[in-house]
Structures are given as structure tokens and as C-alpha cells.
């Protein structure tokens, strides 16, 4: 780098000249980091390792403080495969989470009605006593299994241990049933393997990346966005299927502006084209797959001409894109997506994606899907967890057997008392997930909450859900705490350390401390036998040849792979973890559960006259509703807008920037107005809004009332019969220029 060389040149000038230069440059008083580089005392500013908690990607990085010990900036750790030294806007803006004055400050116990937001301050001890008493009562009257945990975040693992020790395994991440569940189930049924997080997609080396509604770049899944950029540099073909002209579509050679809800028709047609034209990987299909002939017959009717009528995509475009995939194969990725709970047949769609990847031979191939490895850390010794007598599954006999994780919506549903069940959930722990906005069908969520005996919310920020809690436990931010080591699947096994960069502000505490203290109140000390977290981490690290001291210094440690199996070797024999031991194009699991063993296209409802399909998505600077109050990120995006095609705004006489209300097919009106963005980037039969806005908790001074919430408009949930995913793209909205009078105000 030229500038590096320039620096060396300057360095050789000699000390006198340098001192002078330092003075000349000291004007930049606005910069705390404009540290005097010529001062030999100041080697490196103080930095401590962390991994990010702004989203699930959990990039590892460094927190920098200035001379007076204030946290100033966060940057990526160069050795971290999740971020390669580059944080995304949210990670970089993570400082705002620490400085946010609206943070929860001390434990609160509810004094008024649920949802009324009347609380009294309590000491930690009092709060734990309160919770322990209620938990014991629930265990006594209904059994410990009647307490559930919803978790989305690192600290949730400690509460997970607590709950397991207490006797419940009902630990749900909304990221399964509301997000990535169908793809995991679909891929598991096909390859006997999960897609995992970070996804095992080898985008870096792909020659063709196919995105089905996935808006990489707008969802800042850091590593993937970086790899997509690398792929663009290397000239990869990108194919984007999206009714919206997404950022990724703007980078694509082929953008397929599909009619929403018809993706499966396109996928089946692609499969058919690839088979008919013999574009599939014949050796791979023969060696590794099961059920090819049935697949071939089943997809025969799905011709490009047929698909044209369904998807609105021209046959030659479908043909060209299928050919492009074949040309790139096996370095092709039909991306499994992440948020895939759309229309209720999402597992089948994910299956079609898996099948397409399979016949192109991309699974286990460079530029396709690799086999990741995870560094495994031993658990700190503890007695075995008690065996629960019941689980959430008992509430759904015979259903969702293929769901490989706990259904959050299932727990929610099983909380509402029902004469058909002998028991329903009585206690919820909610860690770092704003269920009111996360779960669709808010009415059901509120009904469930009203029938609870105990709702404990653990969060850093006041949220809608904290308003309903009996007890709020204020957690310190990730910048002020230790958490368990991050171990995540990647090309190289690696671990990352999070340690506090500053003391917790206010009377906030880390999750490990809360869980340990509460365990103590419940007499479950032996499950948290370590004295403090440093001891636990050091113990774990020493088992794998590192130490806490080393990790504090390096932040991220990579380990060599145990097996050289990132990709299949040529002609490698391989037994897949499926019933047939092969990649199941024809899924025996699905057949056994009574579902189509090969996906079939079924049409979905379309918006009635005057209504538009509500599509929601992400903006790169926000993670769901949790970052909407972060001062640094509010600076980048303070509210959402509703994207409407100019043809439609013209019909309705709507102006750009005009505030309107959205009303859905069930008459639900958005609580707050939202500004119109007339843009060609959205199809005329749909509207688009960024998820997470429209906060109704007044304690969020920056986020309150900014924009509209998509989740309150999602009242029609199309349940995936295979795994209980909540299809949320079947809601239609219309425009109101004024709020109807007499709408009840929800808190």
C-alpha cells in the first residue's frame, strides 16, 4: 500500500522533524483517536475483545476506549472468519447500545395490569425471590415443564441451563418457527444435514449465486455479504428472484421479478428443465441421490410455458437462468435463504431448493455447500439434568414431528388454556426477544400472556414485551459483560471471546450472574458450580489448549480442521444421515409423515381488489426491532417507509413522503402512520416495509411511533404443516389517508 510506504518514508525523517510534524497535525481535536503516533508510549489504544450481539452473526471484534476509558469504537477482528476484520453498520454502531439513555436500569416488578407499564423498582435479591417463589409454585401445581424460555441472544444459554436444571426442555428460539426452520427441515430431509448459521454456502468461490427472495446486502449477514462481493469481483453470475428490485437484484445478471407466492413453480420448472436438458450432474446424481426417476416423472408437467402463466416470468428467461446454473455447476448455490416462513408450504419450497442444489451437484463441492467444522468445548462438570415428564410436543400430538427445534408459536399456543390439554404453560422467561413484534398473530400472543402466572423478561432495552412482564431483569450490554465462548461452524473451527470493555452502567448485570443467582435461590447451585464466569471460561479454554489470558490478547482462535472434508473428494464414498443413506430427492421422512415426498406446486391466495401483498424485509442498519432505538443507528435510519409502485400511488393519489395508515385484510390498522415511498423498485401488486419499526413503548424515546410495524399487520398466519413454521406473507394491506376514529389504542 502506498500510504504504508509513505509512512515509512516519513518515519525516516528523524525525530526532530517528527515532533514538528506531530504538532502540525494536532489540529484535529475532534478526533479522540488522532492519537499521537510519534509518541512512543502510545503503542495501541486500549482494546478488548468481544463478539457482536447486534445480530445473530456474532462477528468478533475489538472494543476501543479513549484515554478516559470511554468506549469509542468497535472494529472487526482480522482473524475472525465471520467478519474478516470488517464489522457491518450495526456492529460498528454497537457503541450506541451502550450509550443509549433509554436502557433498562434496575430490576422492576410490575404493580399494575399487564401491559400497563407500571412497575416499581426492586433490588436484585427481591426480584430473584419473587421469581423463585413463583417458579416453585408453578412446579408444585403444574410441574416444572410448564415453564418455557424464549431466547434470542448469547446470554440465553445460561437461562437455558437454568431451565434444564429446573426440569424443562421447552426452550424455543423464535428464529426457528418464525424464520429459518423450514430450510433446516427441508435440507435435513434431503441431505441429512442442517444449513446452520453462518450458512455453509461457499459463496466466495461460487460461479453462480441464485437468491430466492433473499436480499443479501439488505440483510447484512456480514460474512455472506462479503463473500457475495468477492464473487462479484470474480465475475460470478447472480440470479435474483424477487418481486422487489432488491439491492442484490441490482447486482444481478438476471433479475426475475416474480409474482409473489409462486417461487415453488419456478423452482420445479428449473428442476424439470435441468433434468430434461440433461444439465444435471449425472455421476453425482447416480452416486449420491435417491429417487431421481420419480423426481423426473413428477416434475415433467412443470414446463417454462406453464410457469409463465403462474409466475409471470418469460419462458426464455427461465430457460436462460437454468442454463446459467448448469454452466456454473457444481460451483452454483441456490441459496437456502434465512427468513423463509412465507406461505405455509415453505418446507416444500426449501426441499425444492435442496433438490435443485443436489441435481446440480453443488452440495459438498467448492463454490457450492461446504462441510463446516465446529470447535467443541467441554461443559463444566455438572450433575445430569432431570428428565422432564412432558414437553411442548405433548400439546400437538402427531404434529410437527419433523420440527427439529422447539416451536415458539407452539409454546405460545399451548399457553392458552384449552380443555383438550391437561396442562398449559404457566411461566415464560423471555430473553432478548421482543415477542410482541417477533411472533405473528399478536392477539394470540397477548391472550397467552394474559393467562401466565409468571413472565420474566431479560433485556437491555425496554421493549413491548417488557411492558407485559411481571419482572424485568435489566441486562448489561454485550460491551459490559462476559458470555460463553462463541463456537460456530465454519471452514475452520474457531472460538471467540467476549469480555467486558467497561463496567456495567446503572444497576445492570450480565445474564450469567442472573442465572447463577437465581439457580442459587432455587437450590440448583450445582449446575453452576463455577465461582465466576472467568473461572468457567478459563477452565473450558484450558481443556482445548488455550487460556483466558491468551484469548483476552487475541480475541479469536482458529484451530486446524480435524478432517480434511471441506468438500467431497472426487468419487468419495459418502453415507448421508438420511433413511436411505443418500441425498433424498424423494424424501422418505416426508412420506412417513404423510407429506408429499416430492414438492408439488399449490397456488396461494392473491390480494383482493384494492389490496396489496405486504412484503417485509430488513435494512442493513437495523436488526429487527432491537436496534431501532440505538442512537448511532437511528442516525442512519430513523423510520421505515412503505414502498409503493408509482402506478399504484397514482391510482390512489398518494404523494411521496405523505403519511398514511395501512389496513390489512382483517381490518387491523397500523398503530402509527408510515410515509409513502413511491418507487419503481416494488411490483405493483405488493408493498414493502422494513421490519422492526413502529415501536409502541414510549420509553423508547427515539423509536416510539416511528414508522409502522409489519408484525401487527400479520394476522393471517399460514402454518407449515410439516414443521409448524408461521407463513407470514399472506397478508394484504390497503391504504388509509386518515386513521379511522374509534380505534382502540393498544399499549
Amino acid at each position: 500500500m502506498s500510504n504504508r510506504r509513505e509512512f515509512i518514508k516519513i518515519s525516516s525523517l528523524g525525530a526532530g522533524g517528527l515532533a514538528l510534524a506531530a504538532n502540525t497535525f494536532s489540529w484535529s481535536r475532534g478526533m479522540s483517536f488522532a492519537q499521537d503516533i510519534f509518541d512512543d508510549k502510545a503503542e495501541e489504544p486500549i482494546r478488548t475483545p468481544t463478539y457482536c450481539e447486534l445480530c445473530f452473526w456474532k462477528c468478533a471484534g475489538w472494543v476501543y476506549k479513549d484515554d478516559i476509558g470511554d468506549i469509542r469504537k468497535i472494529t472487526g477482528n482480522d482473524d475472525d472468519p465471520h467478519c474478516n476484520g470488517r464489522f457491518c453498520p450495526r456492529g460498528t454502531g454497537g457503541v450506541g447500545m451502550y450509550y443509549d439513555k433509554d436502557r433498562l436500569r434496575r430490576p422492576l416488578i410490575r404493580t399494575g395490569e399487564k401491559g400497563e407499564q407500571t412497575f416499581r423498582e426492586a433490588s436484585w435479591d427481591e426480584a430473584f425471590d419473587y421469581i423463585a417463589k413463583k417458579m416453585n409454585k408453578i412446579a408444585e401445581e403444574h410441574g416444572p415443564e410448564c415453564i418455557a424460555l424464549f431466547t434470542h441472544g448469547s446470554g440465553g444459554k445460561f437461562f437455558s441451563t437454568l431451565l434444564k436444571a429446573f426440569g424443562s426442555t421447552n426452550i424455543a428460539a423464535p428464529s426457528f418457527a418464525q424464520c429459518r426452520g423450514p430450510r433446516e427441515v427441508g435440507f435435513l430431509a434431503t441431505f441429512g444435514e442442517l444449513v446452520l448459521s453462518p450458512e455453509r454456502t461457499d459463496i466466495r468461490d461460487t460461479k453462480c449465486l441464485v437468491l430466492i427472495g433473499s436480499h443479501l446486502g439488505e440483510n447484512m449477514h456480514n460474512g455472506q455479504v462479503q463473500e457475495m462481493s468477492d464473487a462479484i469481483d470474480k465475475g460470478a453470475t447472480i440470479i435474483t428472484v424477487d418481486p422487489r428490485y432488491s439491492i442484490a437484484a441490482g447486482k444481478s445478471k438476471y433479475w426475475l421479478p416474480i409474482k409473489p407466492s409462486t417461487d415453488l413453480a419456478l423452482l420445479l420448472t428449473w428442476i424439470n428443465l435441468i433434468i430434461q436438458n440433461e444439465w444435471y450432474d449425472k455421476d453425482y446424481v447416480e452416486k449420491y441421490t435417491y429417487g431421481f426417476d420419480v423426481l423426473k416423472e413428477t416434475v415433467k408437467p412443470y414446463t417454462p410455458e406453464w410457469a409463465y402463466g403462474i409466475t409471470g416470468l418469460k419462458p426464455d428467461m427461465i430457460y436462460d437462468t437454468a442454463k446459467a446454473m448448469h454452466d456454473a455447476a457444481p460451483a452454483v448455490i441456490i441459496h437456502p435463504g434465512r427468513h423463509v416462513t412465507w406461505y405455509g408450504d415453505d418446507t416444500q419450497r426449501s426441499r425444492a431448493i435442496a433438490i435443485l442444489n443436489a441435481i446440480l451437484g453443488s452440495w459438498g463441492r467448492r463454490g457450492g455447500f461446504y462441510y463446516p467444522e465446529v470447535a467443541s468445548l467441554p461443559d463444566y462438570p455438572h450433575p445430569p439434568f432431570p428428565e422432564p415428564k412432558r414437553t411442548w410436543r405433548d400439546a400437538f400430538p402427531g404434529k410437527f414431528n419433523l420440527a427439529n427445534e422447539v416451536l415458539s408459536t407452539g409454546i405460545c399456543e399451548a399457553t392458552i388454556p384449552n380443555t383438550a390439554r391437561d396442562c398449559s404453560f404457566k411461566g415464560w422467561f423471555v430473553y432478548g426477544t421482543n415477542l410482541i413484534k417477533t411472533l405473528p398473530n399478536r392477539k394470540q400472543t397477548l391472550e397467552a400472556i394474559q393467562s401466565l402466572d409468571l413472565l420474566v423478561a431479560i433485556d437491555t432495552m425496554p421493549m413491548e414485551i417488557t411492558g407485559y412482564a411481571d419482572v424485568i431483569l435489566p441486562e448489561c450490554t454485550y460491551l459490559e459483560r462476559y458470555d460463553l465462548l462463541r463456537t460456530s461452524p465454519h471452514r475452520e473451527p474457531n472460538i471467540a471471546l467476549r469480555m467486558p470493555a467497561a463496567k456495567p452502567k446503572y444497576d445492570t448485570k450480565p445474564a450469567w450472574w442472573m442465572a447463577k443467582k437465581l439457580a442459587s435461590k432455587l437450590g440448583l447451585d450445582e449446575y453452576f458450580a463455577w465461582n465466576d464466569i472467568e473461572k468457567l471460561l478459563d477452565w473450558q479454554l484450558k481443556q482445548i489448549g488455550s487460556s483466558l489470558d491468551e484469548m483476552k490478547r487475541i480475541g479469536v482462535k482458529k484451530f486446524p480442521r480435524k478432517y480434511d472434508d471441506l468438500y467431497f473428494w472426487p468419487n468419495q464414498d459418502f453415507v448421508f444421515n438420511t433413511n436411505s443413506g443418500k441425498i433424498e430427492l424423494y424424501s422418505t421422512d416426508m412420506e412417513n409423515e404423510g407429506f408429499d415426498p416430492i414438492p408439488k406446486y399449490t397456488p396461494h391466495p392473491e390480494p383482493p381488489e384494492g389490496y396489496y401483498r405486504l412484503i417485509y424485509g430488513r435494512a442493513p442498519m437495523h436488526t429487527f426491532s432491537r436496534t431501532i432505538n440505538n442512537p448511532n443507528l437511528v442516525d442512519l435510519m430513523a423510520e421505515n417507509s412503505v414502498w409503493i409502485n408509482p402506478k399504484v400511488t397514482k391510482i390512489w393519489g398518494l404523494k411521496n413522503g405523505q403519511e398514511i395508515y395501512l389496513q390489512n385484510q382483517d381490518g387491523v390498522v397500523s398503530e402509527f402512520p408510515i410515509k409513502v415511498r413511491a418507487t419503481e423498485r416494488i411490483r405493483w401488486d405488493s408493498v414493502y416495509i422494513v421490519h422492526g419499526f413502529g415501536h409502541s413503548n414510549k420509553k423508547l424515546t427515539r423509536a416510539f411511533g416511528k414508522g409502522a410495524s409489519d408484525s401487527e399487520l400479520i394476522t393471517n398466519v399460514m402454518m407449515d404443516p410439516v414443521m409448524g413454521g408461521t407463513g407470514m406473507r399472506g397478508n394484504f394491506v390497503t391504504f388509509l389517508t386518515e386513521k379511522p376514529i374509534g380505534e382502540e389504542v393498544k399499549s
Partner: protein
Amino acid sequence: MKEELITSGRMNPYIDPHLNIWHWQIPLYLFLGGLAAGILFFAALYTIQGKADKYPTAVKIAPLITPFALVLGLIALFLDLKHKLYFWQLYTTLRLESPMSWGAWTLMVVTPLSFVWSALNIRQIFPNWDWRYSWVKNIEAFFRKNIITLSWILLIFSLILGVYTGILFSAFNARPLWNTSILGPLFLASGLSAGAAAIVLISKNHFERKQMAKIDLIIIGVELFLIIHMFMGFLASTQVQIDAASLFLGGPYTTPFWLFVVTLGMVVPAVLEILELNGYRMPRWLAPVLILFGSLMLRFIIAYAGQESRWLY
């Protein structure tokens, strides 16, 4: 549809949605500067021509306003500064490329001269004024002796000041509406016109009033000529300047500009003065007040409209 939006960053109310950095202070400052320049120009001119007796108001009385106008203008400018304590930095360097810099230096010359000129004529207001100290009297005597040299200096610097009020704007290539060299002469003419109007307003001498009104008429003619040329120039230029001109030709500034500046500030007072010169009786204050008003409005409207004109990209 073409959609261009700043999706994040640049939360700067001074520049978005359009430039909004200069408010009432700058146009007021420019108006007062132009007015002072106009008055001092005529005072110096008639002194050099030896017509001080024929034009007593122009030479002796009207200039008494100028120190106040200039100081008020400087106060307005000072109020506009956002890093006020560093004001003195203006006078640590002379940067010829920066109109703001040589304008500041011009004011540094003109303002003291306006005080000197007023001091020389202070007995017009306070006939019994006495400077008390002999050294002050010596200085007074020095200036009286060199009154012609003083006048020449004043004449030149008042012209520079008058032109500066326009050049300050026209030097900004980034704002297409301002970026025309006609603004210099136009603002000079406007300043002279305002100066002449001020003299007419104050003067009780019939001959002087008549002569100044005639001069004003000519200047108004020149101003209208310059305005027409300015628009011809814009419309024959690039799209950005066509867009800039359209602010006044159908855009949001059409009514204020053509009504307040051109009609009420130039055409109506010109007609009134023609009528008055032809013997019709009018309220004597009306025409000059309208001219002063028009001159003020010209600065305000050009200042605000210019901030709305921008490059396309």
C-alpha cells in the same frame, strides 16, 4: 421514474433538502453595504467634481448614515458567523481568491473612512460641535486639506464594496443562480440606486432631489437591462442555469421577484419619478422608499433563491 435519494448520513439541515446556511443576516449585510457604498460614492464623486455646494445632502448629510449602516451590516455578518470568537482570523491574511476575504478588508478600509467623512461633516447636525483636543483638530485639518485624495480613495473603495456585494454570491460556482458575473454590476447598480434614493429621501434641496432622481432613473434602466441580460444568459446556458432561472420564471420565486423587486422596486418608482419630474405632485417619500425596499428585496430574494439552485447529479 428516476429516484435519487440520500439513504443515510448527511443529516445536515444547512444543506438538505437544499442549501440553507445563510439567513437574513447576509442579505441585510449586503444591502447595508450596498447602500453605504452608493451614498459614499456620490459624496466622493461630487466632492471630486467640486459640486459639494450643489449637492449638500449627498456630500455632507447622507454620509452620516453610512457608519451606522456599515456597523449594523458588520454586526449582521458577525451574527451569521458560527465560530464567532475566531472572527479576527479574517484579518490575519488577505486572500484575493476569496471575495469574503477582500470584502472584509474593503470594509476595513471603507468603515473607518465613513467615520472620518462623517466626522468632517458632523457640524451639519451639531453646529456647535467641538473636538476639544488639539490633536483631533490636527487630524481633522489634515483630512480637510487632503479631501480630494480622500475622495478618490473613497470613490474607488465604494465601487469595490458595491461590486463585492454581488461578487460574494457570483463567485460560487456551486450555486448556478449566483454563478453569473452580472450579479456584480447588478448589485453595484442596486447599491447606487439605493444610495441615490436615500439622498432623495433626505434632501430638502429641490435641485439636488431632481438631479438625484434623474440619476436614479438611469440606474434603474441599467438594472432592468442587467436583469434581462442575466435571464438571457441563464436561458442560453446549461441545464443547471436554466433550472436556476426557472426559479424566477414560473418557480417559487416568480411572484416575489417580479412583484417586489422589479415592479414595486424599479418600475413603479421609475414611473413615479418620471411623473414627478414632469410636474405631477406625489408624496415625496414614496418613490425612494420603494427603491430602497426593492434593493433590499433583491438581496433577500437572490440570497434565498440562490441557495435553492444546485447542480444535477
